[in-house]
């Protein structure tokens, strides 16, 4: 049981990052010795050493930014806010950014409302974790026309319209492989049956990750993994819990529930724990260490993954500040320095090959298990 952090062989076309999780390889021991703990893994030095042509931000410029998550009140978005605060302090922006969001049940319409009114509110950049799919496009395009840039993070605008650049937490294609690897590592070489417990049926992130996982499963390496079905818990703990229970009733031979959502994964783990089934059925997916601690320690969820939302908020703020101050244009090939995270480059988004979309890739994934979860939970 070790933190699996690997070099990315595909570095050339993706980014300049030195460290990157690439799953699929099973020889984790080597790096584990050097990486050791999650804390180390969680605070990556990020980009390559600063080279000459990368743009640096000039602190102290006055720009008005809005951080717009899917909705307020859950930990990952709060962590992103912390990261953005940290960057804002570093950059000495005299205008504090607004951390606003709609209510959970009004997420789509609420985001569109904030976006439509952003130019009237005098915002230079809206930092958006898009929960509205393509439906945000008209308002985002209108905002761009009116001079408000749109930087997406966490969840992009699917076809890239109305979006200046997407700050990707990890490579979305890779998410599929990471999940398939965790499944294989938990179930063993002989594999087994598993089900996916997602957020809502139209959650763009989750859909992209699940699609990536289904693609990954086509690889003969995962031939023994059988995906039973995909169910949805709408990111509500009670509904996710009941869905997990229903999965248990429905599939007597199921050995794993894969939940690529921080609400779903804890709810599924709790359901298994209450049923006393943690020996027979495991839980994995994407979860916040602080919330998963107990389940990893008692064996319900031996392994799960996530990236740092603090870093994501930090990086997003940097990108937005640079755009707002005109230091970068938001064009392909531009390089910039994002404070403690190091140097990044804006590239075409390879996970959205059919459309014109730009991306800044953060990464890496951290795989959490019994060895590093406690430290990461803090």
């Amino acid at each position: 049981m070790i933190a699996r952090i690997f070099e990315d062989e595909e570095e050339d076309h993706v980014n300049l990052k030195t460290r990157h999780v690439l799953s699929g390889v099973m020889c984790a021991g080597l790096l584990a010795a050097t990486m050791g703990t999650a804390t180390l893994a969680q605070t990556p030095v990020g980009g390559t050493p600063v080279s000459g042509d990368a743009v640096s931000a000039t602190p102290g410029q006055d720009v008005k930014l809005m951080l717009l998550p899917k909705f307020l009140g859950i930990l990952p978005f709060d962590q992103a806010n912390q990261g953005a605060e940290e960057a804002a302090t570093e950059l000495e922006n005299p205008t504090a950014f607004d951390f606003v969001g709609p209510t959970a049940e009004n997420s789509v319409a609420g985001q569109i409302e904030f976006m439509t009114n952003a130019p009237a509110g005098g915002y230079d950049v809206v930092m958006l974790s898009n929960n509205s799919g393509d439906q945000i496009v008209p308002s985002a395009e209108a905002a761009q026309e009116a001079g408000t840039r749109v930087v997406t993070w966490d969840s992009p605008i699917p076809d890239g319209s109305g979006e200046s650049v997407f700050v990707a937490q990890v490579d979305f294609t890779e998410t599929g492989t990471v999940m398939a690897d965790m499944a294989l590592s938990i179930l063993g070489e002989d594999g087994g049956q598993f089900a996916i417990l997602s957020a809502s049926p139209d959650a763009a992130n989750q859909n992209a990750w699940i699609a990536a996982m289904e693609d990954a499963l086509a690889d003969p390496m995962y031939a023994n993994l059988e995906l039973l079905e995909i169910v949805y818990g709408d990111d509500q703990s009670e509904k996710s819990y009941e869905q997990a229970q229903a999965l248990i009733s429905k599939h007597p031979d199921m050995e794993l529930i894969m939940a690529p959502t921080s609400v779903g994964i804890v709810s599924a783990a709790k359901a298994l724990q209450d049923e006393g089934l943690c020996e027979e059925i495991k839980v994995s997916g994407l979860g916040v260490p602080a919330e998963m601690l107990e389940y990893t320690q008692n064996g319900c969820a031996p392994e799960f993954a996530l990236w740092s939302f603090v870093d994501l908020g930090y990086l997003t703020y940097y990108v937005s500040y640079l755009l707002a101050t005109g230091a970068i244009e938001g064009a392909e090939g531009e390089r910039f320095v994002a404070g403690r995270l190091g140097e990044y480059e804006i590239t075409q988004d390879p996970t959205r090959p059919d459309v014109e979309a730009l991306r800044v890739l953060m990464g890496p994934f951290t795989i959490y298990n019994i060895d590093n979860v406690e430290e990461a939970a803090g």
């Binding site: 607004d98 209510t103 569109i112 009114n117 139209d202 859909n207």
Partner: protein
């Protein structure tokens, strides 16, 4: 004359007008560009589909019923239009079918309420779950877009100047609704039914038919709003308009319509629509989070009834204390002096 004005202002509509003016004043001072045409258009555009459904919901509630299925119907009609378009049907046909579905299911709601005699809460709750389910079935986990330009332009670009089709439709429907409710036999019937369905039935009025018409209109108008929303957003998901029903009902109630039926005016409903649109717009531009917005509107909803009630009670008490002595004093010419003598303070 002055007293007449005071009494008029004391009415619900007057209260709403005052609230609206306060909100406008606040927004104008706090938000730059608030009164610009583009912002006012924006503010209408963002809530236009809700505003359209609100008109129909006013009829439903005044008739003493409720329709919880409106938002799900918006999602369903958008889903029907999108799914048909996706499978190759021309957009106008897709729109017509979507509207037909709305009217049809509305009629079905009305049938179960008026003819079978079920509680509208139960029937439309089934619709609330079921229509959304049908939308989910049609659109699944996808986002259907790529509509023809003329269609999305309807929702996004101005037809005359900056005014979009939706705004025109709302304006026309608002006039039609006001005239129908206040100046037609159908409107009077709606009130009578809402006041007491039993009385209406005994007086030979066709309660069932009127209710069925109202529910059909509610379904049709919701379907229209769903299609307009698809045009405005340019893409349809199964969750389109989710959760709108409570907002819509809230505005109707804030407009002074009694949940028990029989009471309310279209002017009040229109005022409260404009009030809530302005309030949301100001709060969003001022960077207030969605939760606080909802809380403020919730508080407004309670206070708008509570404060006049309490004020009315205080007035009542004062009046009683003043008028009691005068009642005891028989000679009319003395009552004036008697009152001034015993007046408190």
């Amino acid at each position: 004359m002055a007293r007449d004005l005071v009494r008029r202002l004391w009415s619900w509509e007057g209260l709403l007008l005052i609230l609206l003016l306060v909100t406008l004043a606040y927004n104008v001072t706090r938000v730059t560009n608030f009164l610009t045409v583009s912002n006012q258009i924006n503010l209408f555009q963002l809530g236009i589909e809700k505003a359209i459904v609100i008109l129909a919901m006013a009829f439903v509630i005044i008739s003493g019923e409720i329709d919880l299925s409106v938002a799900s119907m918006m999602g369903l009609s958008a889903g029907v239009a999108a799914a048909l378009f996706e499978s190759g049907a021309p957009m106008p046909v897709a729109i017509l079918v979507a509207l037909g579905v709305g009217a049809g299911f509305g009629l079905l709601n009305g049938y179960f309420v008026a003819v079978v005699g079920l509680s509208s809460l139960a029937v439309t709750l089934a619709g609330y779950v079921g229509f959304r389910g049908l939308a989910r079935l049609l659109v699944q986990d996808r986002s259907v877009g790529g509509f023809p330009d003329w269609f999305t332009n309807l929702g996004q670009r101005g037809m005359v100047g900056p005014l979009t089709l939706s705004i025109f439709i709302f304006a026309i429907l608002a006039i039609v609704a006001t005239v129908t409710l206040h100046f037609s036999g159908f409107g009077r019937l709606t009130y009578v039914i809402g006041n007491s369905a039993a009385v209406a039935r005994f007086s030979g009025v066709s309660v069932a038919r009127t209710k069925m018409v109202i529910f059909t209109i509610s379904g049709l108008v919701s379907a229209l709003a769903g299609v307009l929303m698809a045009a405005r957003l340019g893409a349809v998901r199964a969750s389109t308009a989710e959760g709108f029903e409570l907002d819509i009902i809230t505005v109707v109630l804030l407009g002074g319509v009694s949940i028990f039926g029989g009471v309310g005016s279209m002017i009040g409903v229109l005022l409260s629509t404009y009030l809530v649109l302005n309030l949301r717009n100001g709060l969003v531009i001022a960077g207030i989070t969605g939760n606080t917005q909802t809380g403020i509107i919730g508080l407004l909803l309670i206070l708008s009834v509570l404060l006049p009630n309490l004020a009315g009670r205080v007035r009542e008490r004062l009046r009683r204390r003043q008028s009691d002595p005068s009642m005891r004093a028989p000679p009319a010419d003395l009552s004036e002096t008697a009152r001034s003598q015993t007046a408190p303070g």
